[in-house]
Symmetry: C2
Subunit: 330 residues, 2 copies
């Protein structure tokens, strides 16, 4: 039994999203709080650009919620860079107690889950979830520098340049966290670092199966089911794996990696990275709750927990998927 039902009230008090040029040119350009037209945010390195992006995003979340840094008791944060430096350097100036996470691309769901539990339990009055990824920092770390110009395979995904932040507290909100389900690590032997969707799909399917089995609910009970960054390859595999277990995710099932970009933007299998699900949460899911288009949704952050070293040493790629259920009323 793994589903955790919240006892009191924890909702999203404010969200913010900052992105790069390609994301701004995608499907939700008008919904971002800020973007950089050359992805540098006027910094000398891409690593500093990602830090700056996260710093600015957090500032927007504070501003939009009417909060001072001292109003936030703790920030749960992480990113893809080695030792998660986009978060530690990006957020240090705010002086807020800092709880570092590494969940790879699932970090936004993990952070929201932990922020919600600690707020619901009364340990923090208000906590934030903050994550980022940057195409140029991730590609040169995990695969090849973008300047190398390597040919990308059809299953490759495009690491999103984006930072997202959600502030969680017990006040009134358009979306509340009702349940969370932390994911298990699942490794089905995928070794292709250019096919993250296939590596993460078994973990996503495992979390979906655990959730629906234990809750007794069906996918059709939800207005939206949103996975983090499986892309079209991983989303298709996840839907098939769920079907083997009699779970039909249906037409309300979407993936952030498919939503963010336009078809003509050539992102192959879709977006990926910590920023992918974070942007999806901020500019798609939150917006639909705010407009009262949806009342009940599942958000499943997906992460691939390998490193370049583990792949080079012949390890297969383990995945994890954390689930958060959002509702419009509690």
């Amino acid at each position: 039994m793994g589903i955790i039902r919240l006892k009191n009230r924890a909702g999203v008090a404010s969200v913010a999203a900052v992105c790069g040029k390609k994301e701004y040119d995608g499907n939700f350009g008008d919904r971002y709080d800020e973007y950089s037209d050359d992805d540098t945010f006027k910094q000398k390195t891409f690593e500093r650009a990602e830090e700056e992006m996260q710093r600015r995003c957090f500032g927007h979340a504070l501003r939009k919620g009417g909060f001072a840094p001292s109003d936030i008791d703790a920030v749960f944060a992480g990113d893809l860079m080695n030792q998660c430096t986009a978060s530690s350097y990006g957020l240090q100036d705010y002086g807020i107690p800092y709880i570092g996470l590494f969940g790879a691309c699932s970090t936004m769901a993990e952070a929201v889950m932990l922020a919600a539990l600690t707020v619901d339990g009364g340990y923090f009055k208000r906590a934030a979830a903050a994550v980022s990824s940057h195409n140029c920092t991730a590609e040169r770390q995990f695969r090849t520098p973008v300047e190398y110009g390597g040919q990308r395979t059809p299953t490759a995904q495009w690491t999103v340049t984006g930072a997202g932040c959600a502030v969680i507290d017990a006040g009134p909100s358009v979306m509340y966290i009702k349940e969370v389900l932390p994911g298990r690590i699942v490794d089905r032997g995928v070794t292709d670092a250019a096919n993250m969707g296939a590596a993460m799909a078994p973990a996503a399917a495992d979390t979906f199966k655990r959730y629906f089995d234990e809750s007794g609910l069906k996918p059709r009970d939800f207005d939206v089911i949103l996975s983090g960054d499986l892309g079209c390859e991983g989303r298709t595999i996840t839907a098939e794996l769920c079907e083997y277990d009699g779970i039909f995710l249906g037409e309300n099932y979407h993936d952030c990696g498919e939503l963010l970009y336009k078809p003509e933007q050539d992102v192959h299998s879709g977006g990926s990275g910590c920023g992918c699900s974070a942007l999806g949460l901020a500019v798609y899911l939150y917006e639909r709750f705010r407009k009262k288009e949806i009342k009940n949704a599942l958000f499943v952050g997906t992460g691939a927990l390998m490193s370049p070293m583990s792949v080079a040493q012949g390890h297969s790629i383990p995945g994890v998927a954390h689930l958060v259920r959002f509702v419009s009323e509690v």
Copy 2:
């Protein structure tokens, strides 16, 4: 106001510690559950050795507590390797919901803090904190491969080869978590990656000052004050920084980095790494509570949140320090 007081009961149900040869030859050789006499744990790479060490350590913690993997609702885990792969690969076979952390060398305190809060809040019946570091994986990642044989500076610390695990639940225990205080990121401009103690000391002093100011308690109210891996350099600086604020940590203040090794073992400024504070918690602090030698202790995990990339790009090194207060009765 940042100190969080637990509401119910969360205690350490079992601990385990596995280490390398140098740690076994140190001050607490007879207290480790297992060690590898060549630090390889019979694996082909040092990375796999660290994974195996963490896997074995978790197994010992289960065995000593009389638990099956299904008795543990979640594991909070992390390590120093890029993308924290020692934890994700090392623990995946247990099939336990996995919540990945990155707190650098502060990860054990961070994990115990989160496990304690989520157990205390009733969200998990039982949760584990598991971390590791390995001298050969850390040195080749952060500085130079050990085979290079570089001259070490007097302020350099010795990354501990060790894995520690603590299982937290609401049952009877020899040590309970009474309070926690998540740390803030503090960066005072240290850029020397061979002086982690100086980089982390301002964060440790910040956490001590916040704790003593808010609680009204004095260092002499505690039987032991134990920091994670400041070493003799960092411990001295921390004590001095605290003295400037009128806080005299006194003779009950120790650092895990100084406790683990014998003087003749030539570890320069002392031990460091996630494993350092984890071993200190398991073989020193827990043992002293178990023998009823102490009743009230502060455990402050310290971490340096830089990466090799951030150091190479000229960034200074930020630190963080999370505090956990243990007591013998609640």
